[in-house]
Subunit: 350 residues, 2 copies
């Protein structure tokens, strides 16, 4: 499956199914509107699926795309690059936060090496799809060639295809990559037009001096490449990351299958902007799981017109915020499947 | 078990267990602080349990206390009073939103008739603990006698005791009672000192004229009774409801057993204020599930120093917001049980 065929398969939301969901919500045994954002979410998911009620978003899988970054050499984070591979091993062993959250939510965890700099040992839930052992340093040259960026996007599409073929009714974005908030901020700046300082955050928790340096690194890379937001593959190649590109493809794949994809934090939000640049209708498949503490995430979600479900001051990544939101998404859909109507329950109306 | 013995059993949070949880959070494989509010929550729950990690909050039960209100005669809501009993039947049949959410979260639903005006048919999960068939009209006389208020509080304590004895590791507050946002607003005004207009909301969705009328009804009742916030039983008797009083006891019971209790919306928040007036240390057991759209809920939570986990514009009651927050609470605790440390996972630190 190619990028082009996937983009071509993405359709707008189904207005008829959305109207049916809104009409059903009004007949359920609760005051109109009393479920707030969950009612709107249920209507959106009906529109995505093209049917009311939409399928329950179970089973669900969080796909954790891992990659390394040449820009790490610029000192944008105090964490050593080897932590990417070490955390992949932690995911495979089930010891990370995303694993704990996934066990709670009943989701599966799949880990994809799309760009880790160190060869990884296998595991039942680890997919070797390495396109390149880390990106190049975006401050010196494009992070990826266009072909590498396309390959990474198509890894993400392929993972979405495989998971949906295996029965997944909901996909969740996960990521791991030391220094990967730097390309994420660069992508968000390009696609939204925001200034680097407005979208660059502290990532894992850098100090003021490192934050200023990180912002200047991003600004320099944008100056050097002047990426064109109308050319998303070119943007991903210039200042992206392999996991960012793969996540963009993963989101496009979900949208092509009309399966909801829960967006995690700033990495996923930057990939969502790329996906929307490839196919604006892909936004119909996106559910913003939470508001990351990273400022770029909020800028990206606002640009996409998405309101996040959770806002807990989290900034971990890994897919943790997406998995935490899964029960909320499932609850919103479950209402349409299971709640009685005023008629069926014999409840008087006002 | 009496109100007094329950209040006497409530102890402050355990500082040693809280320190242990904070120290453990710092060793887990994630950047310090990256789980935001979930880290603070895990520390609070360790303090409540007196052990680190605290027990997982499963199994969990939402107790839906139902009652009717004499103040309904004042026209504070367009919904007929019979809807309380009809919705109890809906809960027992499993057809309400709280049932759907509870199935998603893996929680049990128990319904307690503590004050419904109509005799109810039984059901496996329906407890008949009716203290009085609805309160009196607070604008004309006290809603309850002190003895009735005490009986209702002790119903709630007894339900908490029974659920904990049966193995519940987390209790969730639920409520049903047409017109019950009116006594809730009155209770919040008394315990926080806020003006009626600042804490009175649209409940199930009343129009501007009814909102003004509802506010004036509450103001008139407060003028008539001038309840003393230092006498919570007197406040509950003057302007409370049977489900509000029972919920106050339910919260006290949870606190006495050092079991977390997830507070739902404005009804539960008003009861939480009463519980805190009986026993200030009971706040350690409270977890605010969500920020209800009812303005009084936010005033009450701020007074208690509680930050809600979810903020989805919901205003349904029934315990729906508490149940929706349960997976978040469980995820916060699960991190302390299951996530690897930097040492155990062989992950480098910065």
């Amino acid at each position: 499956v190619t990028l082009e065929t996937t983009v071509d398969a993405i359709r707008p939301a189904d207005e008829t199914a959305m109207a049916a969901a809104a009409e059903l919500q009004a007949r359920l045994t609760k005051p109109a509107g009393s479920l707030g954002a969950l009612e709107e979410l249920s209507v959106r998911l009906a529109g995505l699926a093209g049917v009311c009620p939409p399928p329950m978003p179970e089973p669900a899988t969080v796909a954790v795309f891992a990659g390394d970054h040449g820009v790490h050499a610029q000192g944008v984070t105090p964490w050593p690059q080897e932590v990417t591979a070490q955390m992949v091993a932690n995911f495979v062993a089930g010891g990370a936060v995303v694993n704990a959250f996934a066990r709670q939510a009943g989701a599966d965890v799949m880990v994809i090496d799309v760009g880790v700099s160190i060869p990884l040992f296998g595991g039942a839930n680890l997919l070797d799809a390495n396109v390149r052992r880390g990106t190049r340093d975006m401050t010196a040259e494009p992070a990826l060639t266009r072909d590498e960026a396309r390959d990474a996007v198509e890894v993400g599409i392929s993972v979405a295809d495989q998971l949906v073929a295996a029965g997944a009714k909901c996909l969740l974005t996960g990521d791991m990559g030391i220094a990967n908030t730097t390309p994420a901020a660069a992508l968000i700046a390009v696609f939204t037009g925001a200034a680097p300082a407005a979208v660059t955050g502290r990532g894992t928790g850098i100090d003021d001096a490192t934050l200023l340096h990180k912002t200047s690194v991003i600004a320099a890379a944008l100056d050097r490449h002047a990426p064109d937001p109308a050319d998303p593959l070119g943007v991903l190649a210039a200042v992206g990351g392999l996991e960012h590109a793969a996540l963009a493809g993963f989101i496009l794949g979900a949208a092509a299958h009309r399966v909801p994809v829960i967006i995690d934090g700033v990495i996923a939000a930057s990939a969502a902007l790329a996906a929307a640049a490839f196919a604006p209708d892909a936004v119909a498949a996106m559910v913003a799981g939470h508001r990351s503490a990273e400022p770029g995430a909020s800028v990206a979600l606002a640009h996409l017109g998405l309101e996040p479900l959770l806002d807990l001051g989290m900034r971990l990544g890994e897919g943790s915020g997406a998995v935490l939101a899964l029960p909320v998404v499932a609850s919103a859909v479950r209402v349409l499947h299971e709640v009685a109507t005023f008629d069926s329950a014999g409840v008087s109306e006002k």
